[in-house]
């Protein structure tokens, strides 16, 4: 999913209605156009034989309905791969995202209070300090004559990594390691090339969890080590899977949202000016970034056959949940294809819909807000150094991975 934009080995797609491939570089480059094509084709739910059978709904109503039907659409698998996940429900590999009811709500409740708006407020100074330090580094490079800076690599990607490391009580320096784990899991789904255990996220987390059990602190890993379900400590696999989830789901996604927002602002001087001159518009602009550039497409695994809107969906097939496509559905949003900076009615689905609403949404939103506030204050003027050099990740998390910017003197 991440950086697979370089993967030109995938068979080319002849027809997006019957053979789509969300991991193909052509999809990353033109996803909104493809959704529109499918939505207006007369059959708004595309199908592909790839990955053992995959469906792609494109309307808001269909994405919402599937999100809420956990009887047929199981969360046991949330990343589309060639193989099927072998960790049994109800827990799945990474609870609660891979869990179905009723276990899902139990696993989710354990985490919710860490991610409530008030709990996240406490992390805002850390986020702001992180952003300021990254900006100071960039200003230092500009001062010594560096005229093009990759802002995905130098800014947007670091913010969620550092805060997640702090929340978990893991070293910030392990950020590169986190990104490698994410890459392995998203690209290989854990079922491609077998990695030696010592190179896996499971090994990394098992070692940290064991160390933490012996020396508890105030961080989220320590909390999970002490959490209980009906008087029983969580299974080791549960603790490990939940931490893996926070690392995997909390980093690429927010990185993508921040990067896409910066990409947008680089090309819209009028929106930059309005951001600065009309601070009241900022909360609406942030939600519009999330609607227009929603990074995350989820997936579900068909638990049983269902005829959904006339489509014969079979147990064992995948369904993608392209929240970004739902966010551009003209039947649900006025001027769906336009970025409306002060959009007042914006029921976007960037964080999903239904019981699996992104548990980190308050954290992600805070990071996006602080990253944009600090950036716009430091750099009211900036532009893409080379629009063609911007590359977008493919697969289920979409955002710019290279973002070279230039800063007028």
């Amino acid at each position: 999913m991440h950086d697979s934009g370089n993967d030109h080995s995938r068979p080319s797609v002849q027809n997006w209605q019957t053979d789509f491939d969300h991991q193909h570089p052509d999809y990353a480059a033109a996803a909104p156009t493809i959704w529109e094509q499918i939505r207006t084709s007369g059959c708004p739910i595309a199908h592909s034989e790839r990955y053992g059978g995959t469906w792609l709904p494109t309307s808001h109503d269909d994405v919402a309905a599937i999100s809420k039907d956990y009887e047929h659409f199981s969360s046991q698998g949330v990343v589309v791969t060639e193989y099927r996940p072998d960790i049994p429900a109800p827990m799945g590999y990474a609870p609660p995202i891979t869990s179905d009811p009723p276990f899902h709500q139990i696993a989710r409740s354990i985490l919710l209070k860490f991610f409530s708006p008030r709990a996240i407020d406490g992390w805002e100074p850390v986020a702001r300090d992180t952003c300021r330090r990254l900006i100071a580094d960039i200003q230092g490079r500009i001062a010594v004559g560096d005229d093009v800076i990759d802002c995905a690599q130098s800014y947007s990607q670091h913010i969620p990594v550092m805060i997640m490391a702090d929340m978990l009580g893991l070293p910030r320096e392990d950020g590169d390691l986190f990104r490698r784990f994410i890459h392995n899991i998203m690209e290989q789904g854990g079922g491609g090339e077998e990695l030696p255990y010592e190179d896996t996220i499971d090994f990394y987390l098992d070692s940290h969890v064991a160390a933490r059990r012996a020396n508890l602190g105030e961080d989220l890993i320590s909390y999970l080590c002490q959490a209980e379900i009906e008087g029983m400590a969580l299974l080791d696999e549960h603790v490990r899977g939940t931490i893996a989830l926070l690392i995997i789901a909390g980093i690429d996604t927010t990185w993508s949202a921040i990067g896409a927002s910066m990409w947008h602002m680089a090309q819209h001087p009028d929106h930059r000016a309005r951001w600065i001159n009309e601070p009241d518009v900022q909360p609406f602009a942030l939600e519009e970034f999330l609607r227009f550039y929603a990074p995350v497409t989820m997936a579900r695994l068909l638990a049983k056959d269902i005829e959904f809107e006339g489509c014969p969906m079979k147990a064992g097939e995948w369904t993608l949940l392209p929240f970004p496509a739902a966010n551009r559905d003209p039947a649900f949003f006025d001027r769906a294809d336009e970025f409306v900076m002060d959009r007042a009615r914006n029921r976007h689905a960037a964080f999903g819909l239904g019981i699996h609403r992104c548990i980190g949404s308050n954290l992600a939103r805070m990071e996006l807000r602080v990253a944009m506030e600090e950036w716009m204050q430091a750099f009211p003027e900036f532009e893409l150094a080379d629009p063609d050099a911007v590359t977008w990740s493919t697969g289920q998390v979409r955002g710019p991975r290279q973002l070279p910017m230039r800063f007028p003197a």
């Binding site: 209070k113 708006p117 029921r347 689905a349 819909l353 239904g354 609403r357 949404s361 308050n362």
Partner: protein, 64 residues
């Protein structure tokens, strides 16, 4: 104007709390808590509409 809030539809997106903190709080798990009983004060009607119009789960309705 009255606000009808459906706790069973709420998934804790917290859009209402961000847009209208005078009308909505959140509980420890991040689900919305409606703060007003009965009529919405006139100066908060606009905010009440915003909260309803931005709930992704349609958990908030306005009755006028």
């Amino acid at each position: 104007m009255k606000i009808k809030y459906d706790r069973s539809a709420c998934q804790g997106h917290n859009r209402c709390y961000m847009l209208a903190p005078e009308l909505f709080d959140t509980d420890d798990e991040g689900y919305a808590v409606l703060l007003v009983e009965g009529d919405v004060p006139a100066d908060l009607e606009e905010k009440a509409r915003l909260a309803a119009d931005n709930c992704p789960e349609f958990a908030i309705e306005i009755e006028e």
